[in-house]
Amino acid sequence: MKVLVCLALLAATASADELSLESTVRSPTLSGSVTVDSAEARRVPGATGEALKVVESLPGVARRSSIGTNGLVVWGSGPADTRVLVDDMPLPSLYHLGGARALVAGELVSRITLTPGGYGAPYGGGLGGLLQITTKSLPSDGVHGSIAVDLLDASASLSAAITPRLRVAVAGRYGYLDRVLPAFLDAEAALRVPTPGYADYQLKAELSLRSDESLSLVYLGADDKLARSGALTTTPSAGVTETERQTRHTERLQLRYRRVTTAGTLDLSAFGGWDSDGRETTFATVVTDRSAQTWRYGLRGSYRFRPHRRVTLMLGVDVEGARGSLSRSGSFTQPPREGDPVVFGRPPGAETAFERYRAGWLRAALFVDGELRFGALTVSPGVRVEALILDGDHALPDASLGPPRGWQKLTGAVDPRLTVRLKADRQLTLFASAGLYHQLPELGDLGPVFGTPTLGPSRAAQITGGLEARLREVATAEVTAFYKELSDLVTRSPASSPSVAAALAQDGRGLVYGGQILLRLQGWRGLSGWVAYTLSHTTRQDHPGSVPRPFDWDQTHVLTVVAGWSGHGWSVGARLRVATGSPRTDVVGAYYDAHADRFEPRLGPTNGARLPDFVALDLRVEKTFVLRRARLTLSLDVQNVTNHANVEEFVYSADYSQRAGLTGLPILAIAGAGARF
């Protein structure tokens, strides 16, 4: 048994509402959506005090591998399909590289809302879920702050009411695990273990104008770097090294105006931002290098008003764009796409190519979202009409020897949405929703060599239905069924010799169906928590006529139980997670490659096998002391208490004749303390 006990000073994040363990989970406003206050989220065991990691414990979310993706997989949609919005401003991902922390520190977060699907016309641009992070309203008087240090990072925040109308807050975090970890590892392991370094910083300013007006400015920034080197492929003793270096930089600036009057609510916002991504991997002589610098911008305005006592309308415009400069060289299959038959540790193909191009897209939408109330029945129809423009400067590769020729594509989409809610009685509400959704291709898929410049939007049709029941004043139950059909998905071209500038095709389809149950207890004798169970089945058909296969992250059963009790300054909690293992492609044989002196696997059906089921129990104990103006918090977070050996990947012998499991987190205890004023 491997036991790691890490002593750390954790962020002193207790606030007045945290002192009570009473759950502050809010009632859903959309079908299947869940809202969690950040104070509650920080106390979820296993999250080590990181508020946004609560998302992993919500229904509809597939368990995230401790080795694989940093993104969210919601209701059978890939990580790039779920939108992450901070005050309606999109972020490229929820987590820093490595997934230990979120891009936005919890100090400025008020609440987190996850809508796995079926959301209304005000939002678009994604086939999957919608994760909305709402920043806090700043304190109207005084100076407040916090400082924290732990094994992973140091963070601080400060907020002040500069004048009665102007409030400002800043927060920042600096991760130093890449410097600390080598002290705990031998030299070889220090090279082999991917050690992320990260930093994030935020600023929020609020200005009260007239009594019904407010202006706010939010700035977010994040830096990431991750490096790994060593023999992480099939057999360490083979002496073949692999290195990986990844960097990411994100900045966002948003200005937001809101006016609330008796006539209606006006929201106006504009944002601009910059993303920079770089990733270089080397395996023997094969070097793969990707980089992208992307400007992002958007404008959004909405007006919500009540033209009739039974009718509420929201009219809005939503414009978003991206323009990037991208380059890529190296193996075509690195990094792998969803649906690629991946064998962990297998070197990429030896053929190399190169592309460099600029591309962009603009999505301009008008939307109408209504709410019509007829007694117990509420009907919410909406429609979103989008004009989509894509363009680039390379319709063909440079190797074509002609002068670079640009391209442009103009298309549109009309996405109707409908939600119906019937309040059957005081305790029971029935709901159903249906809608169409579109998502533009990623800029990285629009290259003339590794991609296809003529790609258009992918589509999804979503239907959900269910019921919400308030069992007592403190308990609720929600049952949601969902069905999604995905079409025009971007996949690799099936042709052995595809046309120039057509390495990707857009004829993939997907099918997702299932159901989820959420039982919540909201503060009964100090007890709170929830039980979330999702049953789902997700398949992809890469091309017409091809055999449907399981989705890369298809997890049939995902069960999460979160329970906590608080009282007398104490807070204790537990989290149990059980999930079906994700699909993997089986190895059915191998042949020797005398050119490279290694074996190549012969593969079974794509995603025809599965990892073993995942089981983990996490515990958290927290004690808060009140010391004049400050609060002192001591905590102990223990992950995987039973030290269950969860297999995160299959690894193979050099000749692929034997298989073993690469296991994830062993039991891990993190003790912490902190203070806040």
Binding site: L177, T235, S237, T333, P348, G349, T352, P498, Y591, A594
Partner: protein
């Protein structure tokens, strides 16, 4: 936290590739190491067993099916079956690289595909090379080998293409001149190695070749130097590593004859090997 999952939790599965426990092919040498279309190439396999080198009949075939560019394999999976043309049974043989090899496995594609669009040229490897694949079958265990061939240059201007044609030198197999063995810093005779000794192996390589390749990113011809990877195989004991410029063999504690093989592979596909019979006393 994911990094902690990797830390110390990765098992090394199965026997070391360097330990010869059954009859198997460990190298295939082609002479010359690079050919033009229509040229003959002499192919020979190094087959080893726990009792030393052997020369069993091997079923040779020439791959005739292009590899889909979306897979990691070195050859098309179809070439392990019906996608290859049989060449006969032998330990070594001579084959002719067909004139259409650069069309099947290189950049010489038909002007348009079935849909009437121009076809994407195949990508070279990191050294700019294209290869004709061969498949060897030894009692059901299959081996793929690649013979480098000279194909047209893609994406270069006329000036760069002319410069490339003028300066290009075909690849040669690496020169593996010999190997020196020592124990405790003192040279040791392969015929008289102490049992249980830690034997340092230092291969003697010839001069590394320089070569040119066309770099798509800069659109120019660039100079490169080959790298050579050395693989080691033994019939008993244990090596510090399966590959490396030098190595240490921890000889078994029992006296008797054993075998050591070294295989040198250069980055452009050339191969040489050395068989060293040793006696433990």
């Amino acid at each position: 936290m994911f990094l902690l999952a990797v830390m110390g939790c990765r098992p090394e599965v199965g026997l070391r590739a360097s330990l010869v426990t059954s009859t198997k092919i460990i190298a295939v040498r082609a002479e010359p190491a690079e050919v033009s279309l229509g040229e003959e190439v002499a192919l020979s396999a190094l087959v080893v067993s726990p009792t030393g080198p052997v020369m069993p009949p091997i079923a040779w075939s020439m791959c005739r099916t292009p590899k889909p560019f979306t897979i990691d394999d070195v050859i098309a999976p179809a070439c392990l079956g019906a996608g290859s043309a049989s060449l006969g049974q032998a330990t070594s043989l001579t084959a002719t690289v067909p004139f259409d090899a650069c069309r099947l496995f290189g950049p010489d594609l038909p002007p348009t595909g079935a849909d009437g669009q121009r076809v994407r040229p195949r990508d070279p490897d990191a050294t700019g090379g294209y290869y004709q694949p061969f498949v060897l079958d030894l009692d059901g265990a299959q081996t793929a080998m690649l013979e480098r061939m000279r194909c047209a240059l893609v994406g270069a201007s006329a000036a760069e293409a002319a410069l490339f044609a003028m300066r290009y030198q075909p690849n040669q197999n690496p020169e593996l001149r010999g190997v020196s063995l020592s124990v405790g810093g003192a040279p040791v005779d392969p015929a008289a190695i102490p049992v249980g000794a830690a034997v340092t192996i230092v291969p003697q390589l010839g001069e590394l070749e320089s070569y040119i390749r066309f770099d798509l990113a800069s659109g120019s011809v660039v100079d490169e130097q080959e790298t050579v990877t050395l693989s080691y195989f033994i019939t008993a004991g244990e090596l510090d590593a399966d590959r490396g410029s030098t190595n240490v063999w921890h000889a078994p504690p029992t006296a008797g004859p054993e075998w050591l093989w070294l295989v040198a592979r250069d980055s452009r596909g050339g191969t040489s090997h050395l068989t060293v019979p040793v006696a433990l006393r």
